[in-house]
Symmetry: C2
Subunit: 379 residues, 2 copies
């Protein structure tokens, strides 16, 4: 297996752009990534495009408008981890020598397709019982509160922290701070989750140029190594009726840590799938940042703020940066690359050398069959 690195990233500011199609969303991100990489566009041999809603050949559409045509293009979807799946797909092909340089694109136009919670499949047992994503996460939160004594204030603190981070990210969809009280007093979506504890829908795009390490120096003087890439399917929950853990994240993270030869204590910065506040808390535990049940206290003690011992979601996370499904996983790469290159400005995690990105495909009614991706980046 060859060492693989990211030599260029791009991302548009996330937001609501119902007037823009996917080409208009993604082309600026692609051009920014290619320019950042210093790679002549014709050197890019393969592109994977993560997208959920756009339909017919989004990758080819975007590349045509970017003036790039002729290469192998694969459109991938894995729900919320579609963008990470695109990164993983290109990583595979470069790590194992199929190609030398590839492009991962993530793009989503949600404004035209989704209003409110993302639709689940009508065949799901859970959906038939009236559940949707906020409700499933609310059950996780209730279970976590019941089992571990996690408090509503601890949940709210995830939102407070990520919104504080977002103020320093000019590409975040929302850039406004809230107090714990404001978070708890915002509209109740699904008890105990209030509006500011649920990620928004929105539109966005991101791109990353991925390259074999052995030729990266020809183009870039600041490559960031992808030390691990893991993508697995499995159960979202650790066991039936046990909503507070995720065997899938635990198993995927284990594979990534082994591949990178590191553990959670070696991480300097993380971008984690915080679609809802409880998600970030459980993933602290699933990713090994703290013990099971300790997630609420972990955020309360400030460990995951910028300046804390292991900052999580310096970008503002899905909660404030936004979560255009296909774009999210690639945008996580962009944030980590900027952090590891020391280019994150006022949200810079000082001296960050190792970062982890975690994305979780919404799965099938929230119970089984989801996709989880974990990438570890190093400079």
């Amino acid at each position: 297996m060859r060492e693989v690195c990211i030599i260029g990233v791009g991302m548009i500011p996330f937001g609501k752009f119902p007037e823009k199609n996917i080409e208009e969303l993604a082309v600026p991100a692609v051009l920014e990534a290619v320019d950042d990489a210093g790679v002549p566009p014709e050197r890019i041999q393969v592109a994977y495009c993560g997208n959920v809603y756009a339909g017919n050949c989004p990758g080819q559409r975007v590349l045509r408008e970017a003036g790039m045509s002729g290469m192998e293009v694969v459109n991938v979807s894995n729900a919320c981890s579609s963008g990470s799946t695109a990164v993983r797909g290109v990583w595979n092909l470069i790590a194992f020598g199929v190609y030398d340089i590839g492009l991962a694109i993530g793009v989503e136009q949600m404004s035209r397709h989704v209003s409110g919670a993302i639709p689940l499949d009508e065949n799901d047992l859970e959906t038939g019982q009236g559940l949707n994503m906020p409700a499933l996460y609310a059950m996780r939160a209730r279970r976590h509160m019941d089992r571990y004594g996690t408090t509503p204030e601890q949940l709210a603190l995830v939102s407070v922290k990520n919104h504080e981070h977002s103020v320093h990210n000019p590409r975040a969809q929302y850039r406004k701070t809230f107090t714990v009280e404001e978070v708890l007093e915002s509209a109740m979506i699904c008890d105990p989750l209030t509006l500011y504890q649920c990620c928004p829908t929105g539109d966005g795009a991101a791109a990353a140029v991925i390259c074999a390490r052995e030729i990266a120096d020809r183009f870039s003087d600041r490559p960031v190594t992808i030390a691990a890439s893991a993508l697995l399917s499995g159960r979202t929950n650790s066991e039936p009726r046990e909503f507070s853990g995720s065997e899938l994240t635990v198993r995927t993270a284990r594979q990534a840590y082994e591949m990178a030869g590191i553990g959670p204590r070696d991480l300097d910065v993380l971008e984690v799938h915080d679609a809802f506040t409880i998600g970030e808390i459980t993933h602290y535990e699933n990713l090994g940042l703290c013990e099971p049940g300790e997630g609420g206290r972990f955020v309360e003690e400030g460990h995951t703020r910028i300046g804390g011992k292991v900052p999580v979601n310096p970008s503002g996370g899905l909660l404030s940066k936004g979560h255009p499904l296909g774009a999210t996983g690639v945008a996580q790469m962009a944030e980590l690359v900027w952090q590891l290159r020391g280019e994150a400005g006022p949200r810079q995690v000082t001296g960050a050398k190792v970062g982890l990105a975690h994305c979780m495909g919404g799965g099938i009614g929230g119970v089984e069959g989801a996709a989880c991706a974990v990438h570890i980046l190093k400079r």
Copy 2:
């Protein structure tokens, strides 16, 4: 690069099954392929699922119902070549040593999503001018008639031939013969293309177990080698306003022939993207079976019938076997495997040793940005 082979295939009879969801369509095909391969399901390390319309994580849904969970699962789409893209994805990962055994799934539930011609994107220039797939192919047919003297009867003969083949395929959606007159007198869809010259919409699924050659003998005594796999994007038409050729198919086929170290004269049997009769005729030319402009005469002279010098679409092709988008490319693999193993019954191409499958993603308004996949199989 390692040698890769197919050790098991499965396919349900294609048809219209509006009452079935994608799990119900695909699970029998998956189980048939796994059984045919003789591989314990837990040995399968990765699955790529080709699908266009099903939405959230079709591959994980199908595998959950098939009792298989935990592996890397990637859902891919490339319009009409989505199934071929799934095969290509797994081939890549095995050829370059990421995994040893994988599964390509193709599935489409069209009855619930499509009525009449498949919808194109409203942003396409061509769509804005009122064009759709039958209209685009009709323009190709008109151009071919104008430039090369191809006749309506020659177009009709493609349909006559493929429907004759389909009578011997118990898995074909339609199994009925037609005369040239009947084809020409069927309802006019878009002049010169009549109803029986357009592939039907329908539902279906297929699966293939793909394995590193070096371990295939542990499971199967009749592996079929994938001698080449090529997937590219590019222009559907050879040049602007020149609808009779496809630079994309020419270029993809060239890559596949080079990889396999063979040429069109070495082929014994082909499964070709005959979504419309003119498609098969132009692809004879694009794939090098005959000279540009000779496609009409080539079918008229009987070369591509079973018993002719290079039978094309013994399965009945998209025109009669059906074309559930995501399923088609994998179903082509199933047909070639049966042909090369000598198990095709009354539609067997005698002594077939080398087969080619060609699939064409409908592209973007028919002009640029399409996907084309060519696979060459050998026994």
